[in-house]
Symmetry: C2
């Protein structure tokens, strides 16, 4: 295994206890594939104290961020754009300048294979979005923390908005010359419906599954005896990926979670 590189990190975000469940599983998935990089979680004041403690035990670093914590002009303009709230929270990742390079990953991603080779890529690298493959999906991206970039991104956002109201539209408008990485690094778990033969051919090589959409893995429930996931609502998520998520949750996360912040899944 390569020596740990303290100046590179995987970064994610959660603004509430629900997404934090996703983060806890995401952290375990990174550890399981033997990453040598740091794991950083950005949180807001929307998390319970107990969940913050869980995250602090699990990740290398937890950073509390707040959209409106500085008082410069850009941030004053932001007050007029409440629609872009969570988007701006994600942009905080550019402020983690104690790292030379980072990989941002959504809290609803699951790492299946070691992806430390992503740190060889430059800013801005991402995988195509299957909906509109000229755009990248912003659930996984390689970037370089920089206060200058952070300010530029905020300014750009306030001036131009985001064509989808979220960080993906904003980042795609800002980084028009992005570097394409394989879809295997951000495989939207629904996509095997659109082109099933490709999923059958390449599915075993998927490195990161991304559970996009309103229904997340932690919204389902899981039967420990049968190892089966019961979908609370049809999500289109690949059953194998979902099972992997739940296996990690059951074996590595659930037992240490305080009763009141556990998801639907009942404790034995």
């Amino acid at each position: 295994m390569a020596p740990s590189t303290a100046k590179e990190a995987y970064v994610t975000l959660c603004t509430n206890d629900s997404y934090a469940i996703g983060v806890l599983v995401w952290v375990e998935s990174l550890k399981e594939v033997g990453t040598t990089r740091q794991i950083v979680v950005m949180i807001t004041n929307g998390l319970s104290q107990k969940m913050k403690e869980q995250l602090a035990e699990s990740a290398d670093k937890v950073v509390e961020v707040n959209v409106l914590d500085s008082r410069d002009n850009v941030n004053l303009d932001l007050l007029a754009r409440p629609d872009l709230g969570v988007t701006f929270t994600k942009l905080h990742c550019w402020r983690l300048t104690e790292y030379d390079k980072c990989v941002f990953m959504d809290a609803d991603t699951l790492v299946l294979k070691n992806i430390d080779d992503l740190f060889e890529k430059e800013e801005f690298s991402a995988a195509p979005d299957p909906g509109w493959p000229d755009c990248f999906n912003s659930g996984v991206y390689v970037y370089k923390p920089s206060l200058e970039t952070y300010q530029k991104l905020l300014k750009f956002a306030v001036q131009s908005g985001s064509f989808d109201g979220g960080d993906q539209g904003l980042l795609n408008s800002y980084y028009t010359n992005w570097n394409r990485i394989s879809f295997l690094y951000n495989c939207v778990a629904q996509s095997f419906y659109s082109y099933l033969p490709a999923f059958k051919q390449f599915g075993k090589d998927v490195k990161v599954a991304h559970f996009i959409g309103a229904v997340k893995p932690w919204h389902h429930s899981f039967d420990v005896s049968t190892g089966k996931v019961s979908e609370s609502e049809f999500s289109g998520h690949c059953a194998d990926f979902l099972r992997h998520w739940w296996n990690l949750f059951v074996s590595r996360v659930h037992k240490r979670l305080p009763e009141e912040i556990s998801p639907t899944f009942p404790k034995e």
Copy 2:
């Protein structure tokens, strides 16, 4: 307008009268955007005589192709793989060596803007498939006719098969180092459902709409008085693209079609 370049051509394929309707509209769409290149249609013996005449009037060249017209070893092997039939028919496009460069386009594509700049691209250029964007969609591609490539492709197909049973799987396995062109050159007409804000942002720039799937534009019907398309079955095709297809059909194709080969749409 640039001078006509006789050694470059748009190429399509139809194996029956139904797809030939698509070809007739495709030809008109190319003419409407003022292409300076030749238009070539490959056909098989599955077409009626009347339809062949229509195509001959409409395109610059009609070439009858037949999978098993040569008697070399590869073709004998083909007899054992009837599943790959239409796939191999498409491969005939590499035999059009009177052209230096060609753009193959499916019969279910519709050209919305001039795309002659595609001839500046090298073999093999194509646009990402939205289902699995590490693969290209084989509905539009730039290639260089060559008997050598044709033979290699046949050999490869017989040996390796196609992971999706069609030309897309085959060509993706063969051309692993393909050159990516924008999704705007092969916009799968369903994709605006998956990422609607991107379609709203970039939809006006679409150069080619591609009506993938079992239901094709000519399976619907059209009301001339209202200008509305009635979908025979939900296809997910963008209404604007469908209307454009039907407007071309009504204004430029329908009147000269013999009664017996007209699609569902009734003549006034």
